[in-house]
């Protein structure tokens, strides 16, 4: 029962739905992962706290946290 919960690769960006190849771009964005062994940019959600989405840089081989910052621009961390 952890305060923060992992919510996937931070690389995710919503492609332009109007683009000609929107279909394949969405498949790539939603389903394909780099899944690196090493530093990984990922999103965490402060489930039992301020409900902020947080960007975390973490080494998937050692679980060392390399950087943490709020995902959106506004406000301070919590």
């Amino acid at each position: 029962m952890s305060e923060f919960s992992y919510r996937g690769d931070a690389a995710f960006q919503r492609p332009d739905a109007a683009a000609a190849d929107a279909g394949s771009r969405y498949v790539e964005a939603v389903y394909l992962r780099t899944n690196p062994a090493g530093p990984h940019e990922e999103l965490w959600y402060h489930l039992f706290g301020c409900r902020s989405w947080i960007k975390v840089r973490r080494d998937t081989r050692t679980h060392e946290i390399l950087a943490v910052r709020a995902a959106d621009a506004g406000g301070s961390g919590s």
């Binding site: 923060f4 969405y26 498949v27 999103l43 989405w53 050692t62 959106d72």
Partner: protein, 1004 residues
């Protein structure tokens, strides 16, 4: 008391009067295998049994060989007992760490009828067959016999102690601790580290698995600053207790080092045995406590364990490690034997000989496998009357259930000695486990003939014997240095590093792993009966890596986790395969360091408190009305309100449905998710998360909305109202409330941070009640008076309003799940109880009827409204018959991937209504659809029933389900096949809207 004391003294023939730190003023009675014994406060079960002359304490796992004490600590492989009884029975408890208490009851394990005469011992006659992995090679024919015969036999023999099958009556709790320095182990190095850091003012936690501090200082006779080790420990402990920043945790084992999570500081798991030394925990005290310690730095001062030597019949009761012998003598004041011999491959064994002599135990022989030993040591031993045999080895032992004779060979001659105690010193293994939990690998030190901590995890240092500093002086120096450095690193001004003086020691060693010339079974892993022959067989069959060796022979897999056996096994395998020890491999240690009870890891979250329970503001009222409650996630919701005389829940639910459809009913709907959405871009935001348009929704109106996941499948549905300009209130299903909130926060913070939109859950702020039925308006008019005009013109279907009602801000929504004229009334939750009682009294003359989730479910099925069973994460808007809601004019989450062929295939099962052809036939949710006459098979599977209900309005069972091309097949007859519940009905495919298809009842 006096006569009991008298009996105790009679019962402790091996108790030494001069030695030991047990409290002789506190005699204790206990039972072992039904016989009464006595001991003293400060004893373990092991030391008390030894004092009473009990040597045989257990039987081995496979061959049921008689076994005695091998060690005096948590690494003990042999002396496992069942402690306590009834619901508190604790199997596999190490007698060597179980503290004695008045009235303690223990039993030996794994023997029948008794540990003295154990029929299981016939296994040893079959030992030529019961070699490592024998079961992989047989029991295969005939196949049918495995479950019927072979496996039951194996399972009868399996296991050690018997666990209780009753609920654990004791409680457990957890403690989150934070410190600058965690010191693991309160031996000399650990005490020095804690003191050096504590004096600087740092926050220090000192954990010691034993119930007294001091470690080896309790078992040895060394002097520090001219003081006895014990006195020094008392002095240091007293100062530590005077320091406000220092917390001392005896009876506490640090069992694991864990990753930090996002906080960055290491977390260590520790188990405190708060009350295991008492018969029963006192009120409000846990049996054990899990400590989760976040430490900026940790000093690993866990010490080292002495390893046995592998030789023939090395498992007879009376053969123990030299360190254990010294501990029983010096700490517990117990003589483990009368006539002793020492078998060593290093200087440490000679210390044991000296301590035996000092305690008045006759030392017959000191056998050192080295050809040379320090003359001073030799002279001392000979003066003590011991025969010294250098370059010699013990090649055999004899004795019935206890040691009586050893055979020694060396320098070409063989000698025998009649002894009842053999102290074995094979060298020391540092307790490196905690240094490897986070991925570090131990390093082989040829000089020390041991694995020492290798690359350490960030924030951990090692001090003392745990790092191979065998000598006391070095341990103290290293500990003080490590403690001071940790304090400085944490920003504390470290004072002068404490230092102490003590005599030099000889720590020479030439490792001897295995006496190959010995006869008889030579045990490597005592508990699992793994012998040197088993290791040889594994080598022969190619199971040569350490992982294969362990798994094939079960070496090191017993409850002692191989603390006394792993390295010996590696060394023997290395010799057999002509490799170096490290190239055979190192076994990676994983938590826990010593076994940890499941109860402690679970803590207080048990039984009814496994998870929190969420209650609505109307809960107490519903309880008074005799509601039956059902779990909805963590919520408890009223399922139905049975009345006396009703024979079944169906009867109750049907009555509630009829009452709503004919008059008026009230249902607590507070658990549905409510989310405030505000900001200049709120409408645009809603347009992007819902498949349908919301920017056109006027103030004072609600609209049904459907949202998809980005993969195009339906996520949730609900109504959203604009209750004031730019202020929207979204409702979600109870089950998905948290998920939708997270989904929206993701959209707001990650997808479109540029939007001016603020969202927050207000679920808990409002108590909300559905008032449904043709008489609902009348009831509300009576209740609200002139607070609000409820005429259909002024407050039509889907209208909503926030208004002041008797000085309370309330909200009313004209929405309907039941298909009737219906409203949802919301008030601040503190008034939820008052509001439901007011609704009931206002509706009393209208016979207003409380209804629960079941009646709600029946009515929504009658209306063909989808709910949780249909929103199962694999259905599309089209599957639900809501495809037309998907706006073509805008982008929204899930739009693109919803276009994939797999999601738009017309063959996909889509929502239909189902009615049995025979009106009396019952339907079962979960039934699969087959065409009439088709053979039941996956190929012929056409869909499934998701929700069923016995409809009071239609008088038959009805259901909703997903049927291949369903919407095109209304009127067709198919088969609803539910073999698992004995259901098989011919059914007609109909529209999912069974009742009032025109929705006339909504608009009145």
């Amino acid at each position: 008391m006096s006569d009991s004391r008298g009996r105790i003294s009679r019962q402790q023939p091996n108790r030494l009067q001069r030695l030991g730190v047990v409290d002789r003023s506190q005699p204790l009675n206990f039972q072992f295998d039904g016989r009464r014994y006595g001991g003293f406060a400060g004893d373990t079960v092991a030391s008390a049994l030894l004092a009473a002359g009990v040597r045989l304490v257990g039987r081995s796992f496979k061959y049921h060989r008689p076994r005695g004490l091998l060690t005096a600590g948590s690494e003990e492989p042999n002396a496992l007992i069942e402690l306590r009884g009834g619901a508190r029975r604790e199997p596999n408890t190490r007698a060597t760490v179980a503290e004695l208490f008045e009235g303690l009851e223990a039993r030996s394990q794994n023997s029948w009828p008794g540990v003295g005469f154990d029929l299981g011992a016939v296994n040893s006659l079959l030992s030529p067959i019961f070699v490592a992995g024998f079961y992989y090679k047989t029991f295969m024919w005939p196949a049918a016999l495995w479950e019927k015969l072979y496996e039951p036999l194996i399972r009868r023999a399996a296991g050690l102690g018997r666990a209780t099958h009753e609920a654990d009556p004791d409680s457990y709790d957890k403690f989150h601790a934070f410190c600058d320095l965690l010191v693991i182990g309160a031996g000399p190095a650990g005490l020095a580290a804690a003191l050096a850091a504590g004096r600087s003012g740092a926050r220090v936690i000192l954990c010691e698995e034993d119930f007294i501090l001091g470690g080896r200082l309790n078992g040895d006779r060394q002097l520090i600053d001219e003081m006895s080790g014990r006195d020094w420990v008392w002095q240091i402990e007293a100062e530590l207790r005077s320091l406000s920043g220092v917390r001392i945790l005896p009876r506490t084992t640090v069992f694991g080092a864990y990753d930090a999570g996002l906080t960055g500081a290491r977390t260590y798991g520790a188990l405190e045995r708060v009350c295991d030394h008492l018969a029963v925990p006192p009120a409000h005290r846990p049996r054990q406590r899990l400590w989760k310690i976040v430490a900026r730095h940790a000093v690993l001062a866990a010490g080292a364990l002495e390893r046995p030597i592998v030789f023939g019949d090395n498992d007879r009761p009376g053969i123990m490690t030299g360190a254990a012998v010294r501990t029983y003598l010096n700490r517990f004041g117990v003589a483990p034997g009368r006539r002793a011999a020492v078998f060593t491959c290093g200087d440490d064994g000679w210390r044991t000989a000296a301590d035996l002599k000092h305690a008045g135990v006759a030392v017959e022989a000191v056998i050192d496998s080295r050809t040379e030993a320090d003359p001073a040591l030799v002279r001392a031993a000979e003066l003590g009357g011991a025969q010294v045999l250098l370059g010699s080895q013990v090649v055999g032992t004899a004795g019935w259930q206890r040691l009586s004779r050893i055979t020694v060979r060396g320098g070409g001659r063989t000698a025998q000695f009649s002894v009842d105690l053999l102290a074995v010193s094979g060298g020391w293994n540092p307790n490196v486990a905690l240094s490897t939990h986070l991925g570090g690998k131990p390093r082989w030190s040829a000089g020390l003939s041991a694995f020492v901590p290798g690359d350490l995890p960030r924030g951990m240092s090692v001090a003392g014997a745990c790092g191979g500093a065998w000598a006391l002086g070095d341990a103290l120096r290293e500990g003080a240095k490590a403690g001071a450095q940790a304090a400085t690193a944490a920003g504390y001004a470290a004072g002068s590093i404490p230092s102490w003086s003590c005599a030099g020691e000889r720590v020479g060693l030439t490792p001897l792993w295995h006496v190959e010339s010995s006869t008889g079974k030579a045990f490597v892993d005592f508990q699992h009966d793994v012998t040197s022959e088993d290791v040889a067989l594994a080598a022969r069959e190619g199971y040569r890596s350490v992982e294969h060796l362990k798994r094939y022979t079960t070496l090191g897999m017993a409850t002692d986790q191989g603390k006394t056996s792993n390295l010996n096994g590696l060394a023997i395998m290395a010799a057999l395969t002509e490799r170096s020890i490290p190239s055979v491999g190192t076994t990676t240690a994983r938590p826990p360091f010593t076994p940890v009870s499941i109860g402690a890891l679970a803590g207080p979250h048990r039984g009814k408190h496994f998870r929190p329970t969420r209650l609505t503001a109307g809960h107490d009222w519903a309880k008074e009305r005799g509601a039956t409650f059902v779990e909805a996630g963590q919520w408890l919701r009223a399922q139905w309100f049975a009345r006396s005389g009703e024979s079944s829940w169906q009867e109750t639910v049907s009555r509630e449905v009829r009452a709503v459809r004919a008059g008026v009913g009230v249902c607590d709907v507070s658990t549905l998710g409510k989310i405030d959405i505000q900001g200049a871009d709120a409408a645009a935001f809603l347009d992007r998360v819902y498949i349908n348009v919301f920017s056109s929704l006027p103030v004072g109106k609600s609209r049904y909305g459907l949202m998809l996941r980005e993969d195009g499948f339906v996520m949730d549905d609900g109504t959203t109202a604009q209750i004031a300009k730019g202020h929207y209130l979204m409702s979600t299903t109870t089950a998905n409330a948290a998920g939708v909130m997270q989904h929206l926060e993701h959209a707001r913070q990650i997808l479109w941070p540029e939007l001016d939109v603020q969202i927050v859950s207000v679920t808990e702020q409002w108590a909300q009640y559905a008032v449904a039925g043709p008489k609902s308006r009348e009831l509300l008019q009576r209740l609200l008076g002139d607070a609000l005009d409820l005429s259909d013109g002024a407050f039509p279907y889907l209208a909503c309003a926030e208004f002041s009602w008797r000085n309370v801000r309330a909200r009313l929504f004209r929405i309907s799940f039941s298909g009737e004229l219906a409203y949802e009334l919301a008030v601040p939750a503190r008034f939820g109880d008052a509001a439901i009682r007011a609704i009931m009294s206002a509706g009393a003359s209208l016979d207003v009827t409380p209804y629960g989730t079941e009646a709600l479910g029946v009515m929504r099925i009658e209306k063909g409204h989808v709910a949780g069973n249909e929103l199962n994460g694999t259905t599309t808007a089209t599957d639900l018959g809501l495809g037309r809601m998907m706006s073509r004019k805008k982008d929204f989450i899930g739009r693109v991937l919803a276009e994939r062929p797999g999601l738009t295939d017309p063959e996909r099962p889509a929502l239909v209504g189902i009615r049995p052809v025979d009106g009396s036939a019952r339907l079962y949710a979960g039934a699969h659809f087959l065409q009439i006459g088709a053979t039941p098979s996956l190929e012929n599977d056409q869909g499934y029933l998701t929700s069923v209900a016995l409809s009071p309005m239609l008088g038959t069972w009805i259901g909703l389900g997903f049927l291949r091309r369903g919407p095109e097949r209304h009127g067709e007859r198919i088969r609803a096949f539910c073999p698992i519940r004995g259901g098989d009905a011919e059914v007609e495919v109909v529209s999912p809207v069974f009742f009032d298809p025109q929705g006339a009842r909504l608009h009145v």
